[in-house]
């Protein structure tokens, strides 16, 4: 008698083991780490920060939901965490006094134009949060460049308040390093506290959720170029350290430029991308008309990513060897 055999095993392509990482896990880790700059923004800018953050995240999720439903996609994609990250990142780049209606527009544009029109997560070319911010900057230039001082800093004349970079560029005032590190200065919600941004960035680096080449490339480039200028003329140009700590550079280098979807996939391409951002930042800050250029630098280099990917194929093991 033939022995009965067992069947109905599941079949699939190898490998049959899978690692522990998953897209939502990465996303929610990033959300968790973003709580550091979020905390600092709430501490320094109070209810304004809470208001902007909440509106931005809720509108981002809502927009994502509308698009998922209308494109007949899987609704569970709403909770992959990416829309929440976009919402938080957008809020962190906005000026603290911004009107709620602008935040709504910004968040909608981020998700709709920045992400969903390209086909959703993974297909967008530009960092969605920065698309939203660039749109707001172009639409409401005055509101987007009006800074209010942190709530804990009682200013005599608080009508307008310069960011550290603006203060340096137009009035040649250097904000003390202590304030830059802790975050007690003017600026976008999430960019003021250098120390928390660095801590968050380091956690991301340890967890390998961001490519170390990107922050390293950007910060080194800025440091070297600014350092060179500073050595040539210390009167006119600021200390390179100031340039690294002030403005949105740290936020951009650790949280924006490192966006996986919109950064290159090849190692060489990543280096070019990072150095390109650094060079553009210095060019805009020093020689351009604007005090700050991290956003535009990243967006410009985002546009080059497909090209970089295409022309920087890594050498395959054994390539070029003689057969």
């Amino acid at each position: 008698m033939e022995k009965q055999y067992a069947s109905d095993f599941k079949i699939s392509s190898s490998p049959h083991l899978r690692g522990k990482e998953s897209v939502p896990k990465i996303m929610y880790w990033v959300v968790g780490i973003l709580m550091l700059p979020v905390a600092s923004s709430i501490y320094f800018f109070g209810m304004n920060a809470v208001r902007i953050l909440l509106i931005s995240v809720i509108v981002s999720l809502l927009t994502e939901y509308i698009f998922l439903v209308s494109r007949k996609k899987d609704i569970s994609l709403l909770f992959d965490g990416s829309a929440i990250i976009t919402g938080i990142l957008l809020a962190l780049t906005l000026p603290p006094g911004l009107k709620s209606s602008y935040v709504v527009i910004g968040a909608f544009v981020s998700i709709a134009l920045g992400k969903q029109v390209f086909g959703g997560l993974g297909y967008n070319m530009f960092n969605p949060a920065l698309v939203g911010r660039a749109f707001l900057q172009a639409s409401f230039p005055v509101a987007m460049t009006t800074w209010i001082p942190p709530v804990i800093q009682k200013m005599v004349d608080a009508k307008t308040f310069a960011t550290p970079l603006g203060g340096f560029k137009f009035s040649h005032i250097l904000t003390p390093y202590k304030n830059l590190l802790i975050g007690n200065t003017g600026g976008s919600l999430g960019e003021t506290s250098a120390i928390l941004l660095i801590v968050g960035g380091i956690i991301l680096l340890i967890k390998k959720y961001i490519d170390w080449k990107i922050p390293t490339g950007i910060l080194l480039t800025v440091f070297v170029l600014e350092g060179g200028l500073y050595l040539i003329n210390p009167e006119k140009y600021a200390n390179p350290l100031f340039h690294i700590l002030a403005g949105g550079l740290l936020l951009g280098a650790f949280f924006m430029a490192t966006d996986m979807v919109t950064s290159p996939i090849t190692p060489k391409g990543t280096w070019i991308y990072a150095v390109g951002i650094g060079v553009l930042v210095v060019l805009i800050r020093v020689f351009g008309g604007l005090p700050e250029g991290v956003m535009y630098s990243i967006l410009i280099m985002n546009a080059f990513v497909p090209l970089l990917n295409r022309y920087t194929r890594p050498k395959i093991l054994g390539e070029g060897g003689k057969k």
């Binding site: 055999y5 095993f9 083991l17 899978r18």
Partner: protein
């Protein structure tokens, strides 16, 4: 200890403790044996027997056709029940010789060693013996060994690497073999070295098998032609190209084989098979394998006749445990999942792995977020996500430029992918389609 390795790769949980300490057991041949006539890379063999013929153990029942091919032998004595297509672990139905075992294990009279002294074989005799014995790579690739032993004249081979890395998680058959047949392996390796005219033998062992490293270092103390190469435990350390890179720092050219850089890489199982054939004259009818996994009651290392059905082996190992979800021939990274256990052991079967339903990843697939994990881990330094995207869009020639054909299908990229994209699956699809296109254009 100077541990060698290659760039990139991954560290999956190795799970070797399940079966590592069980001595290799001999598994008596069951009553019915199914021997497929195509178990190797290359052309299928032609059947030499007819229905109802009596066959003896070691008798040639399939003749090799062409240079890259291998003959097939009967692994038991008995009667040919039928010659018909039978499902094999490759997933295809293949013409097979089904033998009813008479249990007598009567050895074919022609089976005797060519020479009494194993060290007196000439290279040509070794090649002939290996070819006639139907020996193929037992690591899983099943590439005819005699072809490997005949490198072209313009590529002199100076180094032999004995591949004992066994980087696939779960599998321990090579480990047991190295532990139990130490002297035989050393002699086998020497013969291989003489056959290809090399001067140096490296034995690559991953450092999760510390006992083997010290055992061989002790045995080979003072031998200038041998060197034990401790390797970092990393997947896919046992890939030929990775091994050559790790031990010698040489890079096998794309589309090339190790002999292009003067190296012969041979799996320990194959080396032992060569030794056995030269010693006893018995062709390849038996091989070592590990039956393991959380879905099997008592994991074992076994010596099994080719053609034994999986179900018999599972039964011998106490049957399934819990809720078996997947049955895999080979290791979990590169093995082929089986729909049923009604398939025979073939020459390439290095293990039978049963994963319980709970162990099977049920992750949702997301769109690629370009996280670079696959790029950061690919041992071939490819950009899997791009190759796959190009293949998905049917740009196969473009995909080839990005290294579609250089992929060794080790599964590293799929393992690390957080979006759970079956990258290897798509790469196989790409290779397949590309081949179809080639054939079309040749016509």
């Amino acid at each position: 200890m100077n541990k060698k390795t290659f760039p990139k790769g991954i560290h999956p949980p190795d799970k070797k403790e399940l079966s590592k300490d069980f001595k290799t057991e001999f598994f008596p041949a069951p009553s019915t044996i199914v021997i497929p006539l195509h178990q190797h890379i290359g052309a299928p063999a032609e059947p030499l027997v007819n229905k109802k013929d009596r066959v003896l153990k070691g008798q040639k029942i399939g003749e090799a056709k062409g240079f890259i091919s291998a003959p097939i032998h009967a692994s038991v004595s008995g009667t040919v029940k039928s010659i018909e297509p039978h499902l094999t672990p490759s997933g295809k139905k293949i013409m097979s010789v089904i033998i009813t075992n008479d249990g007598e294990d009567e050895i074919h009279p022609d089976i005797k060693p060519l020479k009494d002294d194993i060290s007196s074989y000439s290279p040509e005799e070794v090649r002939t013996a290996v070819r006639d014995a139907g020996i193929v790579g037992l690591g899983g690739a099943a590439f005819p060994t005699s072809v490997k032993l005949s490198p072209p004249k313009e590529f002199p081979v100076d180094t032999v690497i004995l591949n004992g890395a066994e980087c696939e998680p779960y599998l321990t058959t090579d480990y047991r073999l190295m532990l139990e047949k130490t002297d035989e392996l050393i002699i086998g390796a020497e013969i291989l070295k003489e056959t290809v005219g090399a001067s140096k033998i490296y034995i690559g062992i991953e450092d999760n098998k510390e006992d083997l490293i010290s055992l061989y270092a002790e045995k080979l103390k003072g031998r200038a032609d041998f060197e034990v190469a401790p390797l970092k435990t990393k997947y896919p350390q046992g890939g030929e190209k990775m091994l050559v890179k790790a031990i010698l720092g040489r890079e096998v050219p794309t589309g090339g084989l190790p002999f292009h850089v003067g190296v012969l890489v041979q799996n320990v199982g194959t080396t032992y098979a060569v030794y056995e054939t030269l010693k006893t004259g018995m062709p390849l009818i038996e091989r070592g394998l590990t039956i393991t996994g959380e879905g099997i009651k008592t994991p074992k290392n076994l010596s099994v006749r080719i053609g034994t059905m999986f179900k018999d082996i599972v039964e011998f190992s106490g049957g399934y445990a819990g809720n078996p979800g997947k049955l895999i021939m080979g290791g979990p990274m590169m093995g082929i999942s089986q729909y049923t256990d009604n398939v025979p052991v073939i020459k390439a079967t290095s293990g039978i792995l049963v994963l319980p339903d709970e162990e099977i990843p049920h992750k949702k697939e997301y769109p690629c977020i370009s996280c670079n994990s696959c790029v950061d881990h690919c041992p071939m330094n490819l950009v899997p996500t791009r190759i796959v995207k190009l293949a998905q869009n049917k740009l196969f020639e473009e995909s080839k430029k990005w290294g579609l054909l250089d992929c060794i299908e080790c599964g590293t990229c799929s393992y690390v992918c957080p979006a759970n994209i079956p990258l290897v699956h798509w790469i196989r699809y790409g290779k397949n389609e590309l081949m179809k296109l080639r054939k079309k254009s040749e016509k």
